[in-house]
């Protein structure tokens, strides 16, 4: 029992990072109805900008974090202009394929400049794990969890209490109606992308910092975790992204403990498989579908 709770605690904290990744995918999918396969690689590039500053100039944590976020945002803007804005008249699949190509490009660029398999990254903390009764809590996981919660709350405030958030939600709902209000949807898509990339940059900093090392494989890893978490939660739902991330984290943690680390990814895919068969809309799928039907019946 204690093991189960310990694993769940670990899983929730890891899952909060997955949730952040899923939120990034969800924001872009919500605004553009298109999947961005370059999301993981672009935030990985941000992490490598951060590690470069750390290794070359021994920069402090704050500067590395800022550089990671900035690198992710700039890479994200590059992807948005090239793969999404430029092809906005085309089929959604064209953007997805184009973003897949840029994924390859970004990974190649990073491996040219960073040919080693792994590079050091400033650790989130050097503190020892905390002991709460029978439970161990690694401080870096706690930091990751707290930051993820704070970021999610901040995002909620932005989306529901600012003029910019109103624009984003309007365009996500109905781009044509948004244009009738005088909203410039090109600008909204660009900045929503930048916001999603910024969130991803923070997620990258937290995850790579908890590990204290970064590899070019991080892009692929982040893509899988983020996409799976998003699909588990229900595509297009931000609460779903968080719940999907938490579920993925908990299932992975329990699997590693009871079955072994080699089964972790298998368990993640199996979980996704189960959802696709029995509940393809994800955790929030039925909630969203019910609202769609109610809305469709009226309009």
């Amino acid at each position: 029992m204690i093991d189960f709770i310990q694993n769940s605690l670990d899983g929730v904290m890891a899952g909060s990072a997955y949730g952040l990744l899923a939120i990034g995918f969800t924001l872009i999918f919500g605004v553009m109805r298109r999947l961005n396969l370059s999301y993981g690689p672009s935030i990985m590039l941000g992490a490598f900008v951060g590690t470069m500053l750390y290794l070359q100039y021994q920069s402090g944590a704050l500067i590395v974090a800022a550089a990671t976020v900035a690198g992710a945002v700039i890479a994200g803007m590059y992807v948005e202009r090239l793969c999404f804005w430029a092809i906005r008249q085309g089929a959604a699949v064209a953007s997805m394929v184009s973003s897949f190509v840029i994924w390859m490009q970004l990974e190649e660029i990073v491996t040219i400049f960073f040919p080693e398999r792994t590079y050091a990254f400033p650790p989130l903390t050097t503190a020892e794990p905390l002991l709460f009764g029978p439970f161990f809590l690694k401080v870096e996981n706690l930091i990751m969890f707290a930051a993820a919660v704070a970021l999610t709350v901040a995002l909620h405030v932005v989306l529901y209490r600012t003029r910019f958030g109103l624009k984003v939600r309007a365009v996500s709902e109905n781009p044509l109606a948004a244009r009738f209000m005088g909203i410039n949807i090109g600008s909204v898509m660009f900045w929503a992308f930048a916001l999603a990339s910024g969130i991803g940059g923070v997620a990258a900093y937290l995850i790579v910092g908890a590990d204290a090392q970064v590899t070019p494989m991080f892009g692929l890893w982040a893509t899988f975790k983020g996409l799976i978490a998003m699909m588990l939660g229900g595509m297009g739902s931000i609460p779903g992204a968080i719940l999907g991330g938490l579920l993925l984290g908990i299932v992975e943690a329990q699997t590693v403990w009871y079955l072994g680390a080699e089964y972790r990814d298998l368990a993640a895919y199996f979980l996704l498989f189960l959802f696709l068969i029995f509940r393809p809309g994800g955790i929030m799928g039925q909630v969203m579908a019910a609202r769609e039907t109610a809305a469709a019946r009226r309009v």
Binding site: R163, L166, K167, R169, A170, E173, N174, L176, A177, A178, R179, F180, M181, G182, I183, N184, R291, A294, A295, R298, V299
Partner: protein
């Protein structure tokens, strides 16, 4: 107030508007009737700046509108109540109204709030539903919301695309009463409708559009209503 001259708008190779000329007078209700596929919505989208015409001009208060972005056109005083309402279903009624005033939000939130109160006074049902998600409103309420949302932009010209579409007759009466009230308040209205009967009761001037061209221009008194309705629904080409 609005002069449309020789507008040609096409979707790729399909010519939807082939030389449309019409005028909307200030303070009047002008109506555009026509059968399905005549190009009425295409014309609305062209005036709103969503579609770019291949040729022709749209002058609003003596300024050329063709080539301007929809943002500039809304800022210039034209607002559209879209076909099928297109309310933001997952946003509340109140948020929909705020969205309508989007371009004014950075300047003065107080004025926007005052306008929302005014909308609630004019449409009390919207106030009742102010925190409800717009997608759960009835068809008539959504139409009211779409009209109120467009009014939030404080337009000099209100474009309405088929406001009676899909609504029960009693609700249609309500909507047209609202249109009459707006007219009495001095709002200039350009109304596209398939319901020729209701439209002719409120319009000061009307046009018939058929296959991308204006085929008739006149006042409701000039032509017998039956003839108008026949041409509006069946088109002057006729399918005899």
């Amino acid at each position: 107030m609005l002069e449309v001259s020789d507008i040609f708008t096409a979707y790729g190779k399909i010519e939807a508007l082939r030389g449309v000329d019409l005028t909307v007078d200030e303070g009047a209700i002008t109506c555009l009737l026509g059968p399905n596929g005549a190009g009425k919505t295409t014309l609305m989208l062209t005036i709103a700046g969503i579609l770019k015409p291949r040729q022709g001009s749209v002058r609003f208060r003596d300024k050329e509108m063709v080539g301007l972005s929809p943002t500039r056109i809304v800022a210039g005083g034209i607002a559209l109540v879209p076909e099928n309402r297109l309310v933001f279903a997952h946003m509340t009624t109140r948020e929909n109204l705020i969205a309508g005033a989007y371009l004014r939000l950075s300047k003065s939130k107080g004025a926007v709030e005052a306008d929302i109160q005014r909308m609630f006074q004019r449409f009390p049902r919207l106030e009742e539903r102010s925190e409800q998600l717009a997608g759960t409103l009835s068809g008539g309420e959504q139409q009211m919301l779409a009209v109120a949302r467009a009014l939030m932009a404080q337009p000099k010209l209100l474009l309405m695309d088929e406001p009676s579409l899909g609504l029960a007759p009693l609700i249609v009466e309500e909507i047209f009463n609202i249109i009459r009230e707006l007219h009495a308040d001095g709002t200039t209205i350009f109304l596209v409708e398939q319901n020729a009967h209701m439209a002719l009761k409120v319009a000061q001037h009307f046009y018939l559009l058929d296959q991308g061209r204006v085929t008739f221009s006149g006042t409701p008194g000039q032509v017998a209503e039956d003839e108008v309705i026949q041409r509006a629904y069946l088109g002057s080409g006729g399918s005899d």
